[in-house]
Assembly symmetry: D2
Homo-oligomer: 347 residues x 4
């Protein structure tokens, strides 16, 4: 079986990363990669790492007439108007934009300041974190991959919230984010002299990914997420520090068991918590190009605070890799296919 796939909006960073992964997938034929801006150009002229790997050229968006899987990498807001069409043309659709992540249209409207234009599909869409929704993803027709920062926080916190271990159902999340997370378009804030070396609190008190985190953690009662994000000197990678006050006293061993119970069998979650060495807790620079989300924690000896640290590559586990992992599940393939790059050290 070879899957015919199409990538709509393939000239951005997310699309390029997805294409890199799919070109190495043994069960996939990349049939179409679209970009209205670059239609006619070789993909390697936009994604220079793909030189010598492919002769594919971009085509217009409307050139996608049928596919086994259609990946949408168009910017937020574009997918909701096209989704009905996509679902007619492709057997399965994986949407990497933010359009179908929130199940409740009212929540969408509150965070995105506009009405959702394909609200009936929201309840069908499955949120694409396999560690939480594996079975639903397997059977889904439409999967919405999670936000990159949201993924780092949700995977880190899910076991604690699922087990009711967060006092007051409350958590404080502080993310440090690389520049590729803002996409390919240059703007004054991404100008190298201004962006280099910053510790810029670009979302000091709230960010749309907060809505996703709240949705996914609300296992019991409404959870409260206090969210802050900083742009720092990184191109790829997110490091998220989540501060949880424990509902009951637990020592490190007990917490470790909670994580083991949830993630011990997960192929892409590593529990990283070492007593020695330079990388005792998750470190995004080890994860560039990989589909791992590393999770570790430290117990504050002076209070009931638990500091949970998680890291991932925003373009892989945070988008393109997560999408491929979902595709593998949706087609009964080995979940890790095309996703086994281990990452570099040093880097």
């Amino acid at each position: 079986m070879t899957l015919d796939v199409a990538i709509v909006g393939a000239s951005g960073y997310t699309g390029g990363e997805l294409l890199r992964l799919l070109l190495g997938h043994p069960d996939v034929r990349v049939a179409k990669v679209t970009s209205n801006q670059f239609a006619g150009d070789r993909v390697a002229s936009v994604h220079p790492n793909l030189r010598k790997l492919t002769d594919l050229k971009f085509t217009q968006h409307e050139s996608v007439e049928s596919a086994d899987v259609l990946f949408n990498c168009s910017p937020h807001g574009a997918a909701m108007d096209k989704m009905e069409t996509y679902l007619k043309r492709a057997a399965k659709v994986i949407d990497l934009s933010a359009d179908f992540r929130l199940r409740d249209p009212a929540v969408y409207e509150r965070w995105y300041s506009s009405k959702h234009r394909a609200a009936p599909l929201l309840s069908e869409a499955v949120y694409g974190i396999p560690e939480l929704h594996r079975e639903a993803i397997r059977g889904a027709r439409l999967v919405a991959t999670a936000g990159c920062i949201a993924t780092s926080a949700i995977v880190a916190l899910y076991p604690l919230f699922k087990e009711g271990l967060a006092r007051g159902n409350e958590v404080l999340v502080d993310s440090k984010v690389g520049s590729s997370a803002s996409g390919r378009s240059s703007e004054p804030g991404s100008h190298h002299p201004e962006r280099s070396g910053v510790v810029r609190p670009y979302a000091p008190a709230g960010h749309r990914h907060q809505a996703e985190i709240e949705q996914e953690l609300s296992m019991r009662a409404p959870a409260r997420v206090h969210f802050t994000a900083h742009a720092i000197e990184l191109v790829r990678g997110i490091s998220t520090t989540s501060h949880v006050f424990l509902a009951k006293s637990l020592d490190e061993k007990e917490i470790w068991k909670v994580y083991r119970a949830h993630y011990g069998e997960e192929p892409f979650v590593r529990i990283v918590k070492e007593r020695s060495g330079l990388y005792r807790l998750p470190e995004p620079k080890l994860l560039a190009g990989t589909n791992y989300v590393d999770v570790g924690f430290a117990r504050d000896p002076h209070s009931e605070r638990l500091v949970v640290v998680s890291a991932l590559d925003n373009l892989v586990k945070g988008s393109g890799g997560q999408a491929v992992q979902c595709m593998n599940l949706m087609h009964g393939l080995d979940e890790t296919t095309a996703l086994t790059f281990p990452g570099l050290h040093p880097s």
Copy 2:
């Protein structure tokens, strides 16, 4: 009046920065700079930015026989054994190590895991943040400058705690710290391939500076500080994000007023909170070489959380510059003398 000053332990980063500032001070003659390791060498061989500025050479520590001001930049633990001697040889002593920052010997012992060997002097030493202790510094014989991370948190939070605005007297502090804060000695964790590009939670749940923050914020009842520090890709600079839950509902204007009331006249505190532009909140890369501590904040629209952001140069306002500012106060000089470098943009 020209002050004769001596710097003990002048070959480290803190000593070098202090020396840079003092060489530009019109009322100071740097009489002695000591380093047992580099005795006999020109200071520019260790501090290459001072080439052509000075012909000073390092001498042995014991060569300091008298001075108007003695600055101690030896590592933590060394000053307490020498302080009695220093106070005999110099009219005023400014200690840049951690030895005399904590007033309570028991607190010192808890955080530094050893008995303080000059405990009687602890109550005399004045904590060197002029924004909190200006009058005491003016009259002090012994000043202990504050820890660099501690300074960033204390200046940011003091007005709120002083006014009793923190709910539960509690605060969560997350600092991002440059590599120069660990000093000049190379170690595996500072090896460039391992340190470059990291987001390393090196003190995920507690750091000695926490003790200073708790001491200085305890205006009313014991404050609780939940502290986390990350090593990030920066050489100079600290950015600290402090999360405070407000004791009563306050809008941004009211909070602004609190900060204005405390810091409106301060020469080295800038309240940075803008509606537009790329630098709406404090940014350490603008502060390299300066004695500013910038403070700003954002009010979480979804909760009573206040996110206070502060930034400084760990080697200037976080140590050498703070020491010079104290010296100026202790000798009746204009507080800003030798500290007026405005910082670079871009950088």
Copy 3:
């Protein structure tokens, strides 16, 4: 005497740096800073390092009616149409653009692909490197500051060419350049994810500054400059490696003497060539914010090649600082006024 100065085009990086320096100059009153784009805005909203230092606001370009000194920081090509007007309105004009650097209109046309529209003024303009043209600058009405890369190469090579020591009058120049040298405007190539960490040969075989280098080195016969420039991971700073084949055999001591003879008395040229330590040759990261140009060299033991290494801050000695140095000379002030910042280490 206080000089009234105006900066035309003050919103760019060059204008901002010039303004920073002039605000610290005791003999200067900054009367006007212009920017058509930002007219009415406070300068600190564009140059955030100047917060709390000045209340100046940008005005329209045409608002400059008279000044003791007019600095032009408008982009290349703009000054030549305005220069007649500038020279009527200001007693002295210092042009930081490229318009008046080349003395020969034909050379200008060859490199800039357009006719010079104020050719008669080219012969009057003095090339603003004081180390070569101090006396002419003192008496000049119009000074054109040198290109930043050109300055690094010319100061490094001038003594060798002046003394006829370059075989074949030929030199190979390889410059490594920080991102601020391209100015404030963002463009795809300056987008942080694309610009970060590059070693991009943006001018692999020729760059306009080559014309300036050839002009200034042509002490005897026409010199031949083979020029290459790389964009590297730096914000501020240029490091230039120049390879010269010696016309006669000289040992390091003799070469040192040549440099000493030319630059021994220069306040802003340091000959950096040490046998030990980490900074044996010029290093741009030590020079951020300073007006130094450091020059050093190594003699290839295997050939008659001399490797001359030079470094400077492109926004100071490479433009704004050089302009202030010229202004000081033109008005009989101490040449180093406002230019004494020593640079930071580490940084």
Copy 4:
């Protein structure tokens, strides 16, 4: 067929990278990885990117008793004393140190300042660049992989020298090198505050790799290499700019043909020379983790100079990947096995 391989000295960066590649090789079983320092420790404690991939532990060097292939990653100078033993214990040896790269013991002695202690083996060892020595590598018992900088220069220049196109058989080579090229040991010069952001000419006039370049380019008459190396702000990667003066006038098309003729069929050499886009010439940041060496060039319009630009990842094509490529050839495997990672963009 599964090859049993051993890596001697596997705790360094080169050994770790080799291990990463071999763990992904379908025809290889990694039987032994040795480190006297870390014997008994899991390899992931030293190479954190290998977490969850392997349970291998380090053993003592002497534990290697037999192997199909023995890779030596011990430091320079160690292999020559052990090589006789290695060749008895393993059918094939691939040495990643510098010990067997130079064919002439006299040349070795000149550059390494000590007599070679296994000189008879020098003539047997094959220099491990497949693009030059593919057939010899296939039949070799002992392969010495090339220096990382040497590889970048040799692959870039070989076609020109082979065809006699370099005037005077002379070339000027300027390399920019990342910090991982100096290995895992921390030292004052690799301390992050000192190494970050430098443009440090660490080998301004000569480096041992020069000997390798001269050896490999001496197709006709002795070639002269003028070599300079800079440490710059990179962890992985080398960019080399080589300046050649052409022996006869050639336009870009003719030069392109020369490169096509030599490298058109090479799986790991890409000729990168584009008219538009951000990556018109080779860029090391695109190559992290890949086995490519990209080569491009620019013809100086003002002289007969050709600027050849090449880039590679020092730990892959510059050592570990080159070693695997050689192993594949020596065992009749597809040359690209385990080496197909395409690299990341952006990164």
